[in-house]
Subunit: 321 residues, 2 copies
């Protein structure tokens, strides 16, 4: 790597002059400035961020904690984070914490050791933010945290419940996501409020996790547990897909015998057949806006809307009657 | 953050004593050591990695360049990288470069500014590695690069061609992935070698990209371009899914009228119906072994097998006759 000393030597000026030119502070003669700029260009010099970060006690790095990168929702969210960060000169450090509090702690420690300038967390653990760095929650809002970008999950649950009722669901299974994920509780309560108001007949199927590698066994368990039903409100699109496959294996027709609604709107939900009716979550936007809020916090800008709630949307395809 | 000075104060010893204790160098009395260790525990002190990295000119961070994180193949690969890194005390910095050479250059510059200790690149750009940090290519091997973990794409192409022939493909479309991706060329040449040897009738459909947001228009173009065919060897599972959907929309039955084979073996390929017959790539393993090779390089261990080629595998499901 090119050093500031080499730049000074090439330009034939002092290190102090190069430094003043770089920082745009103090007097630098026109000719000296020209020489320094030329030397920087020719040698390909750029300042060492590590030295800068040590001096300023913060880096241009942000940490991103995700619960499960193999769930296709999170790469979309990560893409939003990364796009905003990249456009604004920040780098993203990835931490896949898998609903594991120890892993989350380890990353937070890592982040602190590297003077990371802020953290975006979509992890579902109950860990409180005791760090002094700016911190934005993604995908959920908590009373004790000041800043968050989330989707209105209660509204999402209501939309799913309404869609099922409108397509004449008689005997409905509502899959309840993990109880420690606040968004999952909000969806469930939104869906149940609509079903209760309509006096609909439903049962709640408890699932412990959103982890994708548990989708198939969960779908099998659903069919083994409940003998007759005609509608499923699934925890997310991956689980909806698994339920659909299990239904077809057991010779049910979709949507005639069993109708299914998902949650998320993944790429495959659009590309599969029958197309999955689902509640679209703005994953990319959650990531992008979250990164924007975090960078504004880091750069000490005023943030008016501290707890942003984005709206989910019903996407009609072919899996409801 | 707790400083070494605070540790010294709490322990009632000098900063030099704390430093000697931490580095296990020079003499430290038994009682002083006990006090320092207690202070470290009570205060929750850990050394600042930024300072260490500046001094040692390398960090415990590795950069990961991906061409498209919304393509579900890459999150799996990233998970493999992240798991190995995490188990070995390294952090992963994510760069989504989207087949864009400028973005790739920007990240490489970023990485250098942060004294990153090594780079894993699955980006498909033609950028040469001129950096002094250890560098491992993922997903492809190039003559001019010393270290790589890839899948034997030529074998993968052969397996796909053989499977189509065994299920009596008569009129075959082979989707050729982007020409600047060496793996895509290898798959194509593997498939064509098998089809040629059998004297099969086929046509090559050129596609410029693997980007997932182009899958639907590409599938439509395929059906508009070729009027009669009964088999498709798709570029990857996302494109196979798009072709399948377009086929069903145009009232073809799968696999009776048109049979399709994918490439990758994504989660949805297993969960969709009909299940997609595909060539499984060990995405997680590519990432995990790549990170292992990189960390071994960083830690100056001997690497015997510098260009590792993993084997792809035919996964039979229901999309072939």
């Amino acid at each position: 790597m090119v050093t500031i000393k080499q730049v000074a030597e090439y330009a034939g000026v002092s290190v102090a002059t190069v430094s003043r030119t770089l920082n745009d502070s103090g007097y630098v003669g026109k000719e000296s400035r020209r020489k320094v700029e030329e030397a920087i260009k020719v040698l390909g010099y750029y300042p060492n961020e590590v030295a800068r970060s040590l001096y300023q006690k913060s880096s241009k790095m942000i940490g991103l904690l995700l619960p499960d990168i193999s769930n296709p929702y999170f790469p979309l969210l990560a893409k939003g984070v990364e796009d905003y960060a990249q456009q604004n000169g920040y780098m993203v450090i990835l931490g896949n914490v898998e609903d594991n509090a120890d892993k989350e702690d380890m990353y937070v420690k890592f982040f602190s050791q590297y003077n990371i300038s802020g953290v975006l967390s979509a992890a579902s653990g109950k860990r409180k933010n005791n760090d002094r760095v700016p911190y934005v929650l993604l995908d959920r809002a908590l009373e004790e945290e000041n800043y968050s970008i989330s989707t209105d999950d209660r509204l999402g649950g209501k939309l799913a419940g309404q869609a099922i009722l409108e397509s004449r669901g008689q005997n409905i299974i509502v899959m309840a996501g993990p109880r420690h994920v606040s968004g999952a509780n909000d969806r469930l309560s939104g869906a149940l409020s609509v079903l209760n108001a309509a006096g609909a007949s439903y049962r709640v199927f408890e699932t412990e996790t959103f982890q994708v590698d548990r989708a198939e066994e969960t779908a099998q368990r659903l069919f083994d547990t409940f003998k007759s039903f005609d509608s499923v409100i699934a925890s997310n699109d991956v689980y909806a897909l698994a339920v659909m496959k299990e239904a077809i294996k057991r010779k049910y027709r979709i949507p005639e015998d069993i109708q299914i609604i998902g949650y998320d709107d993944m790429l495959f939900s659009r590309l599969m057949y029958p197309g999955l009716t689902t509640i679209a979550q703005p994953a990319y936007e959650v990531g992008f806006k979250g990164a924007e809020m975090l960078v504004n916090l880091i750069e000490k800008k005023v943030i008016i809307d501290k707890k942003v709630k984005l709206k989910p949307e019903l996407i009609r395809r072919d899996s409801l009657r």
